[in-house]
């Protein structure tokens, strides 16, 4: 866990340094007062100092035996479910623009419930159709929410 904290703090330090550099490209002050770069510059500077301090304190803190039991990345049987969620949401985001909300969500619903352990096909079918075509109908007709039609339905 300590190693994970060091990596995360290092990433935040890199983010603050990047923001510091980017804010210096903007004007810090102009004749009217503070410019667009003023606030982000000071924030990034403070963030950099804090990240360095946190890196230092994390590095110096004694090893906690309880930390060894904490696994940062998913492990064991959970990893398949974890990956299924991430990959399928990403795939749906891509698919929605091409095949539209209804078909993308139909595939997403069926694939995710199967990946998470459901095996009753009739229930998977009902849920997938309800959660795609049904939800699309409710949100677009009743709640006036615009959802992507994609290239096929569009």
């Amino acid at each position: 866990m300590r190693q994970g904290r060091l990596i995360a703090t290092g990433a935040m330090l890199a983010f603050c340094l990047f923001a510091l550099w980017q804010s210096l490209l903007l004007s810090l002050t102009d004749r009217l007062g503070p410019g667009p770069g003023f606030f982000p510059f000071w924030l990034a500077l403070i963030g950099t100092v804090l990240a360095v301090a946190l890196l230092f304190t994390t590095f110096r803190e004694p090893a906690d035996p309880a930390d060894a039991e904490v696994r940062i990345l998913p492990q064991g049987p959970g990893v398949r479910r974890w990956l299924a969620i991430v990959v399928l949401v990403a795939a749906t985001a891509v698919a929605m623009e091409v095949i539209g909300f209804r078909l993308a969500m139909l595939a997403f619903n069926a694939a995710l419930v199967i990946a998470l352990g459901e095996r009753r096909w009739w229930l998977i079918g009902v849920f997938a159709i309800g959660g795609s075509f049904g939800v699309h109908y409710i949100f677009t007709r009743w709640l006036d929410v615009l959802l992507p039609d994609g290239l096929i339905w569009g």
Binding site: M1, G4, R5, A8, M12, F15, C16, A19, Q22, S23, L26, T29, G33, P34, G35, P36, F38, F39, P40, L43, A44, I46, G47, L50, A51, A53, L54, T57, R71, P74, Q75, G76, R81, W82, A84, I85, V86, V89, A90, T92, A93, M96, M105, F108, N109, L112, V113, L116, G117, E118, F127, G131, V135, F139, L143, D144, V145, L146, L147, P148
Partner: protein
């Protein structure tokens, strides 16, 4: 008197069929969210925002507020029946609530929680009515100097009470503020940190970030864990006995006071009032040894404080425009989406809206009591929904919510990205609440600071010349200093009193 007249007018509107239905739907959905383990009020309120897109501003806020306190109550059911808190504030309820369930008294535990929640929520709303208007009137005298100081004070309190590691909390606040800088500069209109990406000109969307950090991250965490065992409880017998009622009266009274007072302080979070109410109850009890073994006062005090806190936390939002917790920040985001800026001007510019919303708190609390006493068995059945369907259903809402606000697929990617970031941050014990509050307060903080410096000709001495600003900036220095000197005060309190 003026407030009373406004409140009566608010009741007239809140009791209209339309708003009553919005409050009812909100309470039902909120309880549902609270019942589902792993989904807290912040995630629940955020993922249900798309349901309010087509509603008028008052209706949308009424529904989202009802979702909020519905979720606060719903968490109790899983605490009692599963020993798994539906949301963080219900952790304390697990201690005695689950023991009561093991003894066959689950119905009584849930009933006293519903009654305590109703009393705590209603009394806290009465106090809100009395406190909010004078506070808003006072805040009307604030200029940008005082507002900047107020936001700094609010954020510092959140940082101070956010977790074990104050450095990490401060860093998370700065990261949140830096993310808030993405987009068009609020004073000069110049684009910043956009890198030519069109979608970034509007800034990083608050809703997809919250959905990611709370909704998706919680599902990713839950995907790793095993399902808990549900107690097959007898929920038909729920009426507390005369002795139990007598034992609960004092606990409910004390829980209300603790919840309300702590709800007024930004950053305290829902878990602290419940812990504190429980600890106080154990200390005043003549038989403290019963606590942890099914003491009804333990459930009553924690649940009352929980809902009193939820209603009191609306005071800083409505009167000052300062969100005191991530869920309140989501509600603030909902206000902004609907073109309303919470704060002192709200009472002047939108009196009908604000008083209708306040009146709806009373209505919502009553609806929750009606829903939860007789329907507790029905809610308990929802615990049997398999994770596969719950997770997929929540993700459908997340995707619609992230996309629907701006019809932007970019926001779906933002949601997923922040979901993974949120998952890692939780695993690494980095506090997320300060980043969320900073993200929503960032643009306002920057605007206030830059206006202040334009007034003062670039001199920071203006903060020392304005007494209110000076006092507000002194408060966080004292709080952060005290916490730095005595960082283990809270953890010691918890260890000694809550097994």
């Amino acid at each position: 008197m003026d407030a009373l007249n406004h409140l009566l007018a608010g009741f007239a509107a809140a009791l209209s069929f339309k708003y009553l239905m919005f409050a009812l739907v909100g309470c039902v959905l909120g309880t549902l969210i609270g019942v589902l383990p792993g989904l807290g009020p912040a995630a629940g309120t955020a993922i249900l925002i798309p349901l309010t897109f087509s509603l008028d501003a008052t209706g949308a806020i009424i529904m989202l507020c009802a979702i909020y306190y519905g979720a606060m109550y719903g968490g109790t059911i899983t605490s009692v029946l599963l020993n798994v808190p539906g949301e963080a504030a219900s952790v304390v309820t697990c201690i005695d609530g689950y023991q009561m369930a093991l003894q066959g008294r689950a119905g009584t535990a849930l009933a006293i929680a519903a009654i305590g929640s109703f009393v705590g929520g209603t009394l806290a709303t009465v106090a809100l009515v009395m406190v909010a208007t004078p506070l808003a009137t006072l805040a009307l005298k604030f200029g940008p100097v005082e507002f900047f100081a107020l936001m700094v004070a609010g954020l510092c309190l959140v940082v101070g009470l956010a977790g074990k590691n104050m450095l990490a909390a401060l860093l998370m606040t700065v990261i949140g503020l830096l993310f808030a800088m993405i987009g068009v500069d609020p004073v000069r209109g110049a684009p910043r940190f956009t890198f030519g990406v069109e979608e970034l000109y509007d800034g990083i969307g608050f809703v997809p970030v919250v959905m990611g950090l709370f909704g998706v991250a919680e599902l990713l965490l839950a995907a790793e864990q095993r399902q808990a065992r549900i107690i097959q409880a007898n929920l038909n017998k729920w009426m507390p006995t005369k002795e139990e009622r007598r034992a609960s009266v004092g606990a409910i009274g004390r829980g209300t006071v603790v919840g309300f007072v702590l709800g007024l302080i930004p950053g305290v979070g829902a878990i602290v009032p419940t812990f504190m109410a429980y600890v106080i109850e154990k200390r005043v009890s003549k038989t403290p040894e019963r606590f942890g073994k099914g003491a009804i006062e333990g459930v009553a005090s924690a649940e009352t404080a929980n809902n009193a806190y939820a209603n009191a936390a609306m005071v800083p939002l409505l009167a000052l425009g300062i969100p005191s917790s991530p869920t309140i920040a989501v509600l603030m985001g909902a206000f902004i989406i609907n073109g309303i800026t919470p704060g002192p001007f709200l009472f002047q510019e939108q009196p009908t809206l604000v008083w209708t919303v306040i009146a709806s708190f009373f209505v919502g609390n009553a609806l929750l009591l009606i829903l939860n006493l007789p329907l507790v068995g029905l809610w308990a059945k929802l615990l049997k929904i398999p994770f596969s369907y719950m997770c997929t259903g929540v993700l459908i809402f997340c995707i619609i919510g992230a996309y629907g606000l701006k019809q932007s697929m970019f926001d779906v990617w933002v949601m997923l990205g922040f979901g993974i970031i949120g998952y890692l941050l939780r695993k690494l014990d980095f506090p997320i609440a300060p980043a969320i509050l900073a993200l929503i307060l960032g643009p306002m903080m920057e605007k206030s600071l830059r206006t202040t410096l334009e007034i003062s000709g670039g001199s920071f001495a203006i903060f020392l010349e304005r007494p209110v600003a000076l006092v507000l900036l002194t408060v966080p220095v004292i709080v952060l200093g005290a916490l730095l000197l005595r960082p283990k005060t809270f953890s010691k309190l918890r260890e000694s009193d809550v097994d």
